[in-house]
Amino acid sequence: MEQEQFPMLVETEKCERTIRVRLDVPDGDNGSNDDEESEDEGIVITFNSLGRGTVRRRASQRSRRQPPTTTATLVHTSRRGSDTYLEVLPDLTQGVDEEETWEKLQQIRAHAVPIEEKRKLKQQLQSAPTLRTRGLAAFKLSRRKFFSQTKSRLREMISKIELWHWSLRYVEGNFGTGLVAFFTFIKWLLYLNLFTCVLLGVFILVPQIFLVHSKDSCIVDSWPNSVYDNETFLYENDTNCCTKYYNEIQSNSPKRDNYYLIQLVQDGVQGTGPLELSYLFYGYYPRHILVLEVAPEWKYNLPLAYLLVLVVTLILSLVLMVRAAARGLRESLRSSEGQFYQYCNLIFGGWDYCIENNKAASIKKKAIYNELCNHLETERYNEEKEQRTKKERCRLYMVRLLVNMVVLALLSVSFVAIYKSTIFAFDHLKDAKDSKESEQDKLMILLFEYLPSGVIVTLNIIIPYLLRALVKLEHYTPNSILVLTLIRTVFLRLASLVILLISIYQSIPACPDSKPSECIDECTRPWCWETYVGQQLYKLTILDLIIMFLTTFLVNFPLKCIGHKLMRGSQIGAAIGDIEFAIPKHVLDIVYGQTLCWLGMFYSPLLPAVTCIKLVLVFYIKYFDCKVNSSQSSQLYRTSRSNALFISILLVSFIVTIIPVGYSIAEIKPSLACGPFRGLDTIWSEMLAVIEESPDWLKAVLLFLGTAGFAVPAIIFLILAGYYYYAVAAANKHMVSLLKNQLVLEGHDKQFLLSRLNHMIKMSAEEGGENTSARSSRPVEDETGHSNDQTLEA
């Protein structure tokens, strides 16, 4: 681009150095090649006659006339002090049509000039002669205008009713944008859960409520033969009887009328009692084809719908999360390109311009200072690392190995503890339930029921402290420490959940000699194990919420009051009362809650709704924690890095939850007494049955998809595609370094040109000093083809 423009020295003055520039841009279009976005189509040039950057002009001149010969026109200039900022717009006198005018009007606000200038520009654009568009083009243009207007009106409306807008603004103003990312994450999760809720509600709940089905009759020797049921499922009548027995047992469970309210609360928290046979759990949904009461031809296959909707919901959640993760990852990759970009990111992007609070501002300054020191420290660390002797290196590696082993040992110990406690509690629970007459046994029952959860919670509090202490021994950079601690804590949380699942799985064993027609077998597993699993997960969700509530209000709040009010000024008071709002820990809480929701979604279709309500409450709890309890964090949380981190953790836990759910769908026999899949061998066989009944070509395609003949080529293809993208990325990186070198060369060229310009100015100033009277003292605007032209060529 630079080679084609010739800055032309048009005229000089006796006492002042004036350089007027006329640009001939040979290519016919706007000549924009610095950015692809259409926001600014002009060429921006700033010169300095001192060889640096700007053209200095007399302040009173303004150029407005448009010389008709050039295609790139000097339309207007503006003043910034005594410098001139030239902005070049495409020529307007060649009869542009309405569409271009409209587009240019939209781009006016992207010009970096005061409003006055923009207004004048707008008037100019609107008064310039335009060609009218006709026909199809006019229609398209009006449609575009309409869409863009509606979009902006819609956006304005949405921003008015945005959820929690003022709370987020408060956090932004007082804590900075890093913390806002956390609360925005909660909001995003809420929307995801709402979406899941709506899907499940529309396809499973609503049909179940409004449509009807035939009754399950337990008469041993006749088929169900009501008018609705021509195509009912064929299963043994024995399972109908199992269902009847199960329902009877549930409704006849002894109620203790003395402690009715407590019983109610306990049932609400655990999902037992009247909640067990409700829409909340899997066990309530029947294995029937539902029909409309008024029009029996409209059928709705509930079991198939149940399975399909769950699968589709999981897939859609995955797609949404991957999209959000890709966005965050792109940003964080950009910033981690090199140490220097981290400096720039910190210095130019480090200050949050929305901070409104003096205390927050000073804390932010301290945080930036800390981060700068961190970076300098990392530099020093890297330098020192290269100078480490072999002996020191060996020692460090040994220490790291040791610490890793200790961490593994700690984690395994906690897993074993959780496992053992669950099995212990389960066994003793059975014994205690059989003899539930004495008061002491009732207490023991309560204790045993909450023992596994209690163990998990205790471990979740103790182990992170130990991990933080251990990681200090390993001498990593601060960033690595953060990531490493986070990974280890995530392992702890997820694995404890997995252990719980395994222990639940152990409690629903396939007993060796069960007869197929027995409703339950002698191993006395629960009548309806799916509901049991749903209940456990529901209980964990509610417990999680209660614990968060208690921690915030009954632990942190008093600590802060004690530390700040009672022991004000003392060091102990500060040590107790200064609780930082540690974002990683809170993120893990949220992710844990969401993991529970995904695990339990199949066994409790209303669990996403419960999770939605829980997330709303959690938002306010965390908001209270942040606003009232915590002192400002002295660590800088960067939005770009945080976003990527949160969603990645969420993705990891999603993948971990898919495995148990998938396994239970594909391998475990559904219980005989309840649910939409009773009587089948596995839940997935429902799907297989549907495939069997579909047309032949579809069946062939679907069955082929499951064979190895499809899977192996697919895997090979994916590997090749991945390698291709990796190669393209490597080539692009190489290209970037080449272009950078080219930029440096161009910079040298520019310096050379400017020094030549300087030289020419000096020379012509001397010449001008010799012929005084021949020159006019007032330079005329934009003269074309003057005899004083001198050309500079590179």
């Binding site: 640096r52 006016i108 220097f340 720039c344 210095i347 130019f348 992007g349 901070i355 300054k365």
Partner: protein
């Protein structure tokens, strides 16, 4: 809020909407804030220019270490006074819809303390100093930091020019998140 305003005609509101990145509601809120900031004596109007210090009382600017530069850059006549339209300009550039190029342009001028159209050592040193506030880095640390910054970003020597700065900011993803506030 949007239906009963008497200070702006429909045309003017549309005009402002076209020329800035603010929505109608935001323009009216801005007007309310403007009145609060400068309306000490009587009803303020739209063209009078008020001293910079009044504008710096805006909550978001009050504790900003760069507030004097901000008001100076956005003052269209550079007379250390701002009118309402300059204020709208400021809000428009700071809104979340403004593109990166626009923000980068103004950020460049804000950081350019000596107004020589490049970011050189003295500019950057002042920036770092303002950012860290009371907790100052040691002078040798500061100069090392600035030197490292310039060495890696300045491709042709002579300080960071505006184009280099714009290119640099495309690599700083936090800039778009932090260089904004809304009314």
């Amino acid at each position: 809020m949007g239906n009963k305003n008497t200070t702006f005609t429909e045309e003017e509101l549309e005009d402002y909407e076209d020329l800035t990145y603010l929505t109608r509601r935001e323009i009216l809120v801005a007007w309310g804030k403007w009145k609060g900031l400068v309306g000490g004596q009587g009803e303020p109007d739209r063209v009078t220019r008020y001293p910079e210090e009044d504008v710096q009382k805006l909550p978001e600017l009050q504790h900003n270490p760069f507030r004097e530069r901000i008001t100076r850059v956005f003052s269209s006549l550079k007379d250390s006074r701002m009118s309402f339209e300059d204020f709208l300009d400021l809000l428009s550039v700071m809104s979340s819809k403004a593109p990166l190029q626009l923000k980068a342009h103004y950020a460049f001028h804000i950081f350019d303390y000596n107004e020589d159209q490049v970011l050189d050592t003295e500019d950057l040193e002042v920036v770092v100093e303002r950012l860290t506030g009371d907790h100052a880095l040691l002078p040798e640390e500061k100069s090392k930091l600035v030197e490292k910054l310039l060495e890696d970003t300045d491709l042709d020597g002579g300080g960071i020019s505006e184009e280099e700065f714009k290119h640099l900011l495309t690599k700083c993803p936090d800039f778009t998140h932090s260089f904004r506030f809304s009314v």
